[in-house]
């Protein structure tokens, strides 16, 4: 199976381990990721705050590249995913672009890898690839905002209680915990502009994960990962707390369960130590 791939800017930098682990998982599932040639930034959260037209146009340039490739488009970053979906809907309703030469047709589907993997492969195929069961881990899956919201843009069928990452993790053997914060907000870019506010939201997510009895949080978004992983130390210091919750991309845990050799290299990039929990459970 072959799909187009739009990594987005974060996956070249702060979220490299997401890019590398997703590619490893794709190899295991015989999915060829054809990166869009010469892709550019989708505009992220900054374009739509500045100008509707700019947001649609920056995204449209990439959608036109995907049209030419003619394959479904896999978008691992939740912000890119939602911006490209928003542009898709706007363009289909007749909104015009500015400064973009070609015309958008929309011959393909835009899809987040968690949904893609769960819908295309399902429990049997995923469980069949497992070499190390994750039965001793107790994760919660954290989707954040933009994988599912708003559903009229994302086409999510269950925006208040999404399941794709939960189902994937269960297929890997993990007894995934239920919790009520799976689609709450981590603050996104407020972490840079209004840091103290974002840290309050981040703390709540940690507290609720612990209350659910989780030992780790699993994500599918580079901003969620960045806020929960790189700011964890600060948040704990501010609040005089001393726990430690590793934050994993769901693709890292898939790679681990599939017996991929690169896992330690991915986890070494985390700022919140992420290997000891796996070592304790003989997974590393």
């Amino acid at each position: 199976m072959k799909v187009s791939y739009y990594p987005g800017c974060s996956l070249e930098g702060t979220a490299r381990e997401y890019d590398e682990s997703l590619k490893a998982v794709a190899r295991n599932l015989d999915v060829e990721l054809a990166e869009l040639p010469d892709w550019t930034c989708c505009g992220s959260s900054s374009a739509h705050v500045t100008s509707d037209r700019l947001a649609v146009s920056l995204a449209a340039r990439n959608l036109i590249l995907a049209d030419k490739a003619g394959l479904d488009l896999l978008v691992p970053c939740a912000a890119c995913f939602q911006r490209l979906k928003a542009a898709e809907k706007a363009l289909k309703s007749g909104v015009r672009t500015a400064g973009v030469k070609d015309k958008y047709i929309g011959s393909f589907k835009i899809i987040h890898p968690a949904d893609f993997i769960w819908e295309k492969f399902g429990e049997k195929v995923i469980a069949g690839k497992v070499k190390k069961s994750l039965e001793k881990l107790n994760p919660v899956c954290y989707y954040g905002c933009l994988i599912t919201r708003p559903p009229r843009i994302t086409d999510s069928t269950n925006p208040e209680d999404p399941q794709s990452m939960d189902e994937i993790l269960r297929s890997l053997g993990a007894p995934v915990k239920n919790w009520s914060f799976k689609t709450d907000c981590c603050g996104g870019n407020l972490v840079l502009t209004h840091t103290e506010l974002a840290k309050k939201l981040i703390k709540k997510i940690f507290d609720m994960a612990l209350e659910a009895g989780a030992d780790s949080i699993v994500v599918g978004c580079p901003m969620c990962h960045s806020n929960l992983d790189t700011r964890q130390k600060e948040v704990l210091q501010d609040n005089g707390q001393a726990y430690h919750i590793p934050i994993y991309y769901f693709t890292e845990l898939m790679g681990l369960a599939f017996g991929e050799p690169g896992v330690e290299k991915w986890l070494n990039k985390h700022l919140t130590e992420a290997k000891s929990l796996l070592k304790q459970n003989n997974l590393l």
Binding site: T40, S46, L54, S57, R61, A98, C145, T193, L201, T230
Partner: protein
Amino acid sequence: MSSIQTHVESISPANGQAAELTELKELNISFCYQCEKCTNGCPLTFAMDIMPHQVIHNLQLGLVEEVVNSDTIWVCASCETCTTRCPNEIDIAHVMDRLRQHSIIRGVKAAHRQAPIFHETFLSSVRRFGRMHELTMAVEYSLRSEGVNGLRKQIRLGLEMMRRGKMKIIPGRWRAGKEVDDIFRTIKRK
């Protein structure tokens, strides 16, 4: 002046606001019946001066100035919970975007100036390189928002991320960079 008169005056928008109001009305704000689902689901109301349902109500009454100058529009994280839950399908998060766009044009108050600086720095990185380059963006943002002190605050985190290979050091240049610049130029002309 009686309070009723004040009220009537405030719903006939000042000249400069007329265009803004027509544009905001396209967003179906008149559909709102104040059920407050937006406010009850919002994770940031603790930092807001005007609650999301009140923002919509103010707009119904033509009180654009109040909401454009509010803290609310800048502490909104664009999490889209309000838009998702609105029973009248008002895209409240998009209303916040439109209000921020107006606020940027009029000048953002000091307490929130970091937000437009962030967006400007982000977009100038996109315009320059075609893709956003995190390292130069972060340095430029820290310097522009809080000067050398801002840089000092972020440097420990930045260095640790670099040490762990989380930062692309040299920004790439893409043939497509020119196409992205064309988009920015065309929009600026309009």
